[in-house]
């Protein structure tokens, strides 16, 4: 595109925008959710709302459909190198331009790899097996892995591609480094290949984006997106009911019924890639918060009793108002490794559970449950209900419900005996769960293994599946690991979350399993 034609098309789009604003606001989506993106730097924070907003400005190599399958994006195809199983060959889309007009080529992908592997990146763990990327020609990239990594493309759905020249010109070759004490240009300025361009941003107040007319995909129906974080649930729903916003992403389960009955508003629901479970320290000699001298969770009888008294259906009916899928398996059904048997659970049997507890502790025992109160759907109410259920079989649970910023360090620092955790699986494969939650904590493994579970045999198998190329054999090993984990009752699973989006009538938004709605796929009636 010449300078002149670009200027012409710019003014044309400005004119179109002005006309649109004058006639109807149907092309604008006012979108509210609980939190804002933490930054616009594409490689700094691996966190839900940040990824959602960035996705509108930056494109990834591979993207994930609402049904969970992979779909080409900036990479049109990906395959394992015929001569070397540890190399992934990516073929790039041609004719793509960045929002500043420069062309997208292989060197931008190589540069983005360097940036995402930088020590101040928040995504290093996801690309831990990458040794380096190399541009073969303008539209072919070889990604060298430390060993065969058959499922690696699953890790590319949150990897945003930046423009090398833009990054170098603005001195943002590395993501925000807190120690430097300076603001990074990329935190508030963007240059992606995505469907929208940033117009203005006031952090935690409002972010405005408009359609990028040079987008490589179909032109979006929604030409303007206004994103507003509203943390208080009541205020957020009030804004939708009073017509101040068009789309609320985080809808409290109790408000769904009222919203469904309200004229001009509809609610769409769907399963989320997130599973809620309790876990406990079954390894320590003695618990931090218990009144008995040994570790109650080390007794299989106690773990069985807790599973027997947990009334998943009651939680689903009352606390979640139907907005959950009760399950005994600590992974959502669409993740590789899930089976029907794992999912099944027995009806609660309080009498039997009480007997089991009495057989070890005739007077029962006490323990503290740590729970977040601002992270998952009705997290605090779920914990409260579980306190009641445990109370019935002689386990006196005291509840410590607090903000996520205080809750998660307890798990990371092994300062909790009994806790609630919700886990999403962005790679849609069990290995992600094993690496973070099951493997003994060492090196990059087990960061969220808060219960100190450690089984050398399981660890060996987890390390084995990382490089297995025969997917059938690999699935068999995954099955073996799950058998052991379920037998040991490492997790006391509650349910899979369901997502609910509330939208103005006339607007069609699909529920995305990773809670990553995309405004450019929205349609208007």
């Amino acid at each position: 595109m010449t300078k002149l034609s670009r200027a012409l098309s710019l003014s044309a789009s400005a004119l179109a925008l002005a006309l649109a604003a004058g006639t109807a606001s149907a092309e604008t989506i006012r979108w509210a959710r609980v939190a804002d993106a933490l930054t616009l730097d594409p490689h700094s924070q691996n966190e839900g709302p940040t990824l959602t907003l960035l996705r509108h400005i930056y494109s990834t190599l591979v993207s994930r459909n609402a049904d969970g399958t992979l779909e080409p994006s900036l990479a049109t195809s990906w395959e394992i190198h015929p001569d070397d199983p540890s190399i992934w060959v990516l073929t790039l889309r041609e004719g793509v331009t960045f929002q500043d007009g420069s062309a997208f080529t292989a060197e931008d992908v190589v540069f983005s790899y360097e940036r995402v592997l930088h020590e101040s990146s928040g995504f290093r763990a996801i690309h831990a097996d990458v040794e380096g990327a190399e541009a073969i020609d303008d539209y072919t990239v070889h990604v060298k892995m430390s060993g065969p990594s058959p499922l690696y493309p699953n890790n590319l759905t949150n990897f945003f591609i930046v423009d090398k020249d833009w990054a170098e010109a603005n001195d943002v070759v590395a993501p925000q480094n807190f120690a430097a004490g300076e603001e990074n240009f990329a935190v508030r300025n963007t240059n992606g290949t995505g469907p929208y361009k940033l117009v203005s941003r006031d952090p935690e107040v409002r972010t405005v984006m408009e359609a990028f007319d040079g987008f490589w995909g179909d032109a979006p129906a929604a030409t303007e997106v206004i994103y507003q974080p509203i943390p208080e649930a009541a205020t957020r729903i009030a804004a939708l009911l009073s017509g101040e916003v068009d789309f609320v992403q985080d809808v409290p389960v109790q408000d769904i019924a009222r919203l469904e009955q309200t004229d001009g508003v509809k609610v769409v629901t769907g399963p989320e890639n997130r599973n809620l479970f309790f876990s406990y320290d079954m390894t320590s000699e003695k618990l931090r918060s218990s009144n008995v001298d040994d570790n109650p969770f080390s007794h299989p009888e106690i773990r069985e009793a807790m599973a027997l008294t947990l009334d998943r259906d009651a939680i689903q009916k009352v606390v979640m108002r139907g907005q959950s899928q009760p399950s005994a398996a600590p992974l959502p059904p669409f993740v590789n490794g899930w089976t029907e048997e794992m999912n099944a659970y027995d009806a609660p049997d309080v009498a039997r559970a009480t007997e089991l507890v009495k057989s070890v502790y005739p007077d029962g025992f006490s323990v503290q449950l740590d729970c977040p109160n601002d992270r998952y759907l009705n997290d605090e109410a779920i914990c409260q209900a579980v306190v009641g259920m445990m109370g019935r079989i002689g386990i006196d649970v005291s509840l410590n419900a607090q903000s996520r910023s205080l809750h998660f360090p307890l798990i990371e620092k092994w300062e909790t005996d009994f806790y609630l955790l919700g886990w999403g699986v962005p790679t849609f494969d069990s290995a992600y769960i094993f690496n973070f939650l099951v493997h003994t904590r060492e090196d990059s493994y087990g960061a969220y293994n808060g219960g100190k579970y450690s089984n050398a045999e399981v660890d060996a198998k987890i390390e084995e599946i990382a490089t297995m190329t025969d997917l059938e054999a690999r699935d068999a090993v995954i099955g073996e690991i799950w058998d052991q984990v379920m037998e040991d009752r490492v997790f006391l699973n509650v349910h899979n979350q369901l997502l609910a989006y509330a939208v103005k009538d006339g607007l069609n938004i699909e529920v995305h399993p990773e809670n990553q709605p995309t405004m450019w796929t929205v349609t208007f009636d």
Binding site: G122, Q228, A238, S242, F408, E412, A447
Partner: protein, 328 residues
């Protein structure tokens, strides 16, 4: 005079250092800042490295010294959460809070004054008693509940007023943004200003009433009445004028508390001010923002206090001793 000013100044500095120590100490204990800086998936080594490079492993006293040194230059570092310079972030949010505080302060002052005068002059009237009791309802419910109820009635059910935010804002100069100049901006101010001002209004109304009753009983008012001045001239010309000095003083001192109390109102109405910024920083353990906010509140308060002290001194040196007892 000079000695007095210097003494007050030194006291103010000591106060600021104490607040700095407190705000610094508080946030060394609450939560772990590292956790809010890195994602859920960062490894333990990464965390340790970041901790080292931020100096969070240095002796506490070294960290505090560094904190004071930076604070003196208005330098509070980069927000862990929003990755922006804290000073800039606060300056960006301050206009919203100041406008809200100004409107609700004015509202509270005018209605408080009017109702206070009315209830004092008609002390035994039925309406006065209704006002006195009714004003107590406003202070007998938590602010957040009043806000939520106002949203429910006026935004959700009646749909008269917006439920959140500032509406359209207009930029004035490089760093001030105002909602006064647009209709949506003015509409958006109504509910938060009432919520925030209700408590102060009750306070001012009661203060005016008490002071006015006191003055009306004094000898010079009796004398003015005896001279045959009209009730109107006595009440408004003499009595009210004498009431206003303490009332304005207290209102001025309250300005700092309005800004601090705005935390709750801003949270409920999603008002993009410094209070909402502070609360979300607390939730995410965003240490630099929290420290800067506490220091800012303390500074505003110390300055207001200092000005009031100096004014008192200038007006009447005798009051110097009485002030503290007078302003309870």
């Amino acid at each position: 005079m000079i000695a007095f000013i210097i003494r007050r100044l030194i006291q103010s500095i000591i106060v600021m250092v104490a607040v700095a120590a407190v705000s610094f100490a508080l946030f060394r204990f609450v939560g772990d800042p590292i956790n809010s800086m890195v994602g859920q998936e960062a490894s333990i080594d990464d965390r340790q490295a970041l901790r080292d490079s931020l100096g969070l492993n240095d002796p506490i006293i070294t960290q505090f010294g560094r904190f004071i040194g930076n604070a003196l230059q208005g330098e509070f570092g980069i927000s862990y959460r929003l990755q922006m310079p804290v000073t800039e972030l606060i300056m960006q949010r301050l206009p919203a809070t100041l406008e809200l505080a100004l409107v609700s302060g004015t509202l509270a002052f005018i209605t408080g004054l009017g109702l206070g005068v009315y209830t004092a002059l008609r002390r035994r009237g039925v309406l006065s008693n209704v006002i006195m009791t009714g004003s107590l309802i406003g202070v007998s419910l938590p602010t957040f509940l009043i806000g939520v109820l106002l949203i429910w009635v006026f935004a959700v059910e009646l749909r008269w007023l917006p439920s959140n935010g500032r509406g359209e804002v207009v930029s004035i100069g490089s760093w001030w943004s105002t909602g006064f100049l647009t209709t949506s901006g003015r509409l958006a101010l109504i509910l938060p200003a009432i919520t925030l001002g209700l408590y102060q209004m009750t306070l001012i109304m009661r203060l005016v009433r008490a002071e006015l009753l006191e003055v009306l009983r004094s000898d010079f008012i009796k004398f003015a009445r005896a001279r045959g001045l009209s009730a109107r001239a006595v009440n408004f010309g003499h009595a009210l004028k004498n009431t206003l000095v303490p009332v304005i003083t207290i209102t001025g001192l309250q300005l700092g508390s309005i800004i601090a109390f705005a935390i709750i109102t801003e949270t409920v109405f999603n008002w993009p001010g410094v209070g909402a910024l502070f609360i979300s920083s607390v939730r995410f353990v965003d240490v630099p923002v929290m420290s800067a906010y506490l220091m800012m509140i303390a500074l505003i308060f110390v300055i207001i206090n200092l000005i009031v002290d100096l004014l008192y001194y200038a007006v009447d040196p005798r009051l110097r001793v009485d002030r503290a007892a007078h302003s309870h």
